[in-house]
């Protein structure tokens, strides 16, 4: 590839990746707009406002996404829910990243001990993760930080497995052998040689983790656990509108549901784009 002979600037790489992955680009723009709007406003109605006289209106000129059972504006609530939903998902993913990566590095030895750890992780994955998260949050007395703990607990093993397999294959590679032979210290090996090479897959995993966290979070609040009223969250909004689905008032659950779908889709697409980008730079 001729254009790889000159190292292109970061901006150029980003621009080219964006052009090649329109899905990820659209997804990124969607997330940014959603986050900014939910943080800065303005929203047509307060998300906590109710209006008994205007309940269950279908989408119209004043209520773009219609109103729910208590007359709340579905549009305002859907945008506003992004604040709590996305920040909790990000927090869960961040905790998983911060704990999972070092643990994964630590488990990346070839010894029997680290093999046992991996087996134990497999056994952990054998438990129904949703039930586990539900149990953790409920037993703790419905604390929000437990939601973050539950999300990160689900994802830490994934980081560990990923890191372990990547590092084990990197250790076989020539440049690691060379660096070790030249007497590089362990921290230097990790920070100078290992991490830069696994950075791409970590980013991919993080994007996937955020996507997964959004689903777990909305599942929990759909079951009435975690984020509680009056703070709007997509899961609880879907729960509110679930019964209305079989009587035809689709908009109450549909718009928050679509918001979840689009956010998850966006982070999945971004993960794909980063993965593609990383795979290409290895060639």
């Amino acid at each position: 590839m001729a254009d790889l002979q000159l190292a292109p600037s970061r901006a150029a790489v980003l621009w080219r990746t964006a052009k090649e992955h329109p899905g990820a680009t659209l997804g990124g723009v969607f997330i940014v707009v959603l986050v900014l709007w939910s943080l800065l406003g303005p929203l047509p109605y307060s998300s906590a406002a109710t209006d008994g006289s205007a309940s269950r209106q279908s989408p119209n000129g004043t209520h773009w996404f219609g109103t729910d059972g208590t007359g709340g504006d579905v549009f305002s609530r859907t945008i506003d829910a992004a604040r709590v939903d996305l920040s909790l998902a990000l927090a869960g993913a961040a905790v998983a990243l911060v704990i999972g990566v070092p643990l994964g590095l630590a488990a990346s030895t070839k010894g029997r001990g680290s093999q046992r750890i991996v087996r134990a992780l497999d056994a952990f994955q054998a438990f129904p993760l949703l039930i586990l998260a539900l149990a953790l949050v409920t037993l703790s007395g419905n604390k929000l930080y437990m939601v973050v703990v539950a999300i990160s607990l689900q994802n830490i093993p994934r980081y560990m497995r990923l890191l372990r397999s990547e590092v084990l294959s990197l250790r076989e590679s020539r440049f690691m052998e060379a660096a070790t032979a030249m007497g590089a210290t362990t921290p230097r090996l990790i920070f100078k040689h290992l991490l830069p090479n696994v950075w791409g897959v970590i980013l991919v995993q993080t994007s996937l983790t955020i996507a997964n966290s959004i689903v777990v979070l909305s599942s929990l609040s759909f079951l009435g656990v975690g984020v509680s009223a009056p703070t709007p969250s997509w899961g609880s909004m879907i729960r509110d509108g679930a019964g209305n689905m079989s009587s035809g008032e689709w908009w109450i659950a549909a718009f928050p549901g679509v918001a979840v779908l689009l956010c998850v889709l966006a982070f999945n697409q971004i993960a794909d784009a980063i993965g593609d980008r990383t795979a290409r730079s290895y060639r």
Partner: protein, 355 residues
């Protein structure tokens, strides 16, 4: 001309069908027993040492401390951990998992009643997901970069991103409310309908055995929406895996040699599929295991009286024996599935059975 270059027979190891397979099965079964014991212990510890006092929850917010203490004593929560553990194991060996704090129903019989409902949902969903997903994925691998691939990948990424409960709600709205094609989400059969008398516990099978055809068709029609919901979501996973594994096999030297020998494309595709089948079977098993418990919310939406919705209710009410029972059942089913998978995948591969 003479061929002076013959090979000695020692070069070929004698094929020993059977011994490899036997060793494989034996070693997996030993591991299974050990791991099952681990699951039992974990299911006990999980709910016995986690914070939160079930006695307080059961007693309600207005109960006095003495009432709570009475409930604690009644539930045996004050006994030392080790005694509770041996009690638990002892009961387990007799098939006794305790009774629900709320309904006083035996956990064992609850599981026995609900397992068939969940299993019929899960097995059909995995089959549906496998058929659709493998079809889409293989087509995508074969027509890589062309329209069937692009369409398949679009569908795959959408269904991979949609929460299963939301997809279920949409299907209820579209197929039940708008089109009127599916029955109301009222569980395994209609609200006014009678379950057939129990033989196997699977409503469809029991209805057939009892010759109640109306009930049978009702049960089948009630299965459609939940199966399609879970099936579509998990089809996305099958499609992703089979696209990459079949694609890899189609680009392998082996596929190229098969083509160079003039084998027809359908044979080449079959070769590729045979090579990829281990991975795909593994996937089916993992998804099956994940769905035990993972199907909980979809069960709730469709009022399905299976294990998942039972477990969710149990957890929300801090009904510890229910949670323990669920963790135990799903852990055991998962471990048995993984063991069966190891064995099946091994038996499918002559490199293991003819080692």
């Amino acid at each position: 001309m003479t061929l002076s270059t013959t090979t000695s027979s020692q070069e070929l190891s004698r094929p020993r069908r059977g011994t490899g397979a036997l060793r494989l099965v034996a070693s997996r079964l030993v591991f299974l027993v050990a791991a099952l014991f681990g699951v039992v212990t974990l299911s006990f510890l999980l709910v016995s040492v986690t914070p939160g006092d079930p006695a307080e929850v059961i007693a309600g917010p207005v109960a006095s401390q003495s009432q709570i203490d009475a409930i604690r004593a009644d539930l045996g929560l004050d006994d030392p951990l080790w005694d509770r553990y041996t009690d638990y194991i002892g009961g387990l060996l007799q098939g006794d998992l305790g009774t629900s704090y709320y309904t006083n129903l035996s956990i064992t019989s609850e599981i026995g009643n609900r397992l068939p409902a969940s299993l019929s949902l899960i097995i059909l969903s995995v089959v549906f997901a496998a058929v659709v997903g493998i079809g889409v994925g293989s087509a995508g691998a074969y027509f890589r970069g062309r329209w069937p691939d692009k369409l398949g990948r679009l569908g795959t990424s959408v269904f991979q991103s949609v929460p299963d409960f939301f997809l279920g709600l949409i299907l209820i709205y579209v197929v039940f409310f708008v089109m009127g094609l599916a029955p109301a989400p009222s569980g395994q059969i209609g609200i006014s309908e009678m379950r057939p008398e129990k033989i196997t516990g699977f409503i469809t099978i029991d209805a057939l055995l009892r010759g109640e055809m109306a009930t049978f068709w009702s049960a089948v029609s009630h299965l459609v929406l939940p199966v399609v919901t879970l099936g579509l979501v998990y089809a996305a996973y099958f499609s992703k895996t089979s696209r990459s594994t079949v694609g890899k096999a189609l680009n392998s030297q082996q596929a190229q040699f098969a083509r160079a020998m003039g084998l027809p494309e359908r044979t080449v595709l079959r070769y590729a599929f045979v090579e990829a089948r281990g991975t795909i079977v593994t996937y089916a098993g993992v998804i099956f295991a994940a769905l035990i418990g993972g199907e909980a919310i979809v069960e709730q939406i469709f009022a399905w009286d299976g294990l998942g919705s039972w477990a969710v209710q149990g957890i929300l009410r801090l009904d510890i024996p229910v949670v323990q029972g669920m963790v135990l059942v799903s852990g055991a089913i998962t471990l048995i599935t993984y063991t069966a998978l190891d064995i099946i995948v091994g038996l499918l591969d002559p490199r293991i059975t003819h080692g």
